[in-house]
């Protein structure tokens, strides 16, 4: 098994999602509120993981554009859970050494007086390890 295949198997395992159930209706991408800001859209995450093209997803920052709002999960007629696959790709990226997407040094210039703490802890949980 190649490294890429191992990573795909790990993504399937930790997400608990099965991309092979997908029937390509595209409803996940139609439901995604941020699809226009993503290089690869939710249905492509499902398709690429199923077809061994994970490397394309790992080279893109699309996984970091997902807001984990679960609209795609709620509306998928086949219960594929695209957001869980996207989260597993994001974890595959940030669990690598020195690969945090957001650095603590960047925070001071991004905050204003009203920003809730919730935003900072949420961003750290999604973007760093």
């Amino acid at each position: 098994m190649t490294d890429l295949q191992k990573q795909i198997e790990n993504i399937k395992r930790i997400s608990g999602a099965n991309p092979e159930k997908c029937m390509r209706c595209g409803k996940c991408t139609a439901a995604c509120p941020n699809y226009s800001e993503m290089e690869y859209h939710p249905h492509q995450f499902v398709y690429f993981i199923e077809n061994g093209q994970l490397d394309r997803l790992l080279k893109s920052d699309s996984a970091f554009r997902c807001m984990t709002c679960f609209a795609c999960v709620e509306r998928c007629p086949r219960d594929v859970k695209p957001a869980k696959l996207i989260e597993a790709v994001r974890l595959t990226l940030i669990r690598r050494k020195d690969s945090n997407y957001l650095k603590p040094d960047e925070i001071p210039q991004k905050i204003d007086e009203d920003l809730p703490q919730q935003a900072i802890v949420s961003a750290f949980r999604k973007y760093t390890k």
Partner: protein, 258 residues
Amino acid sequence: MKYSYYPGCTLKTKAKDLDLYARKCAEALGAELEEVDEWQCCGGVYTTAQDEIATKLSSVRALTCARDRGQALVTVCSACHNVIKRVNNDMAESEYVRTRVNNYMQPENPYKGETKVIHYLEFLRDEVGFDNIKKAVVNPVKRRIAAYYGCLLLRPGSVMAMDNPENPKILENFITAIGGTPVVSPYRNECCGAYLTLTDSAAPEKRSGLIVDSCEKKGAEMIITACPLCLYNLKKNGGDKLPIVYFTEILAEALGIK
């Protein structure tokens, strides 16, 4: 009736009104909210991967405290509610998570998801009852109010189980109970842009702008929410078109507390 209460990090700092009026209104409605002992931040977002164990521990500590007191656990912040309820579901349903969490924490009595987690809105609907709230209102709000649910209160519907995730009515029924007129926006359960506000502000600008515009076009005079991050994103990106407040503030106004 006594409940365990989990305020969360933001309610102690930037969202003090969400917390303050939740407590005051509960008292006025005859319920006692007892803060969880030494609670820790829930982390703001639930991490969906099943091998994420450390990120679930703080929720389990709060859930265990409520269980040991024999109380249901009340949350107010949408984010805390989403995280704690989903972790509770994992502890009940996933042997993988339950075993690892209990092995790590070594509690005297292993936690298995026994606690009932209820959002403050569910407390109002199911414990107090909207009919009783209607009777307790002294200042009917008499405004056209748009409810903004966001994503965290409702999804995933199978776990959150608060209301129909696509066509909810709990907040609209709440608005009616306090004497207001609910205004329904098609964007009420669409994401505001969430934590992308820190990494890619284009998303919350676009999403929150759409939400506020839609509420305004539907004739709303005000937007209510349960989430501090939604409130921030809507206020920052929606211009000054409409006042945006926490639902507990408007409840306090109706009950004559604020």
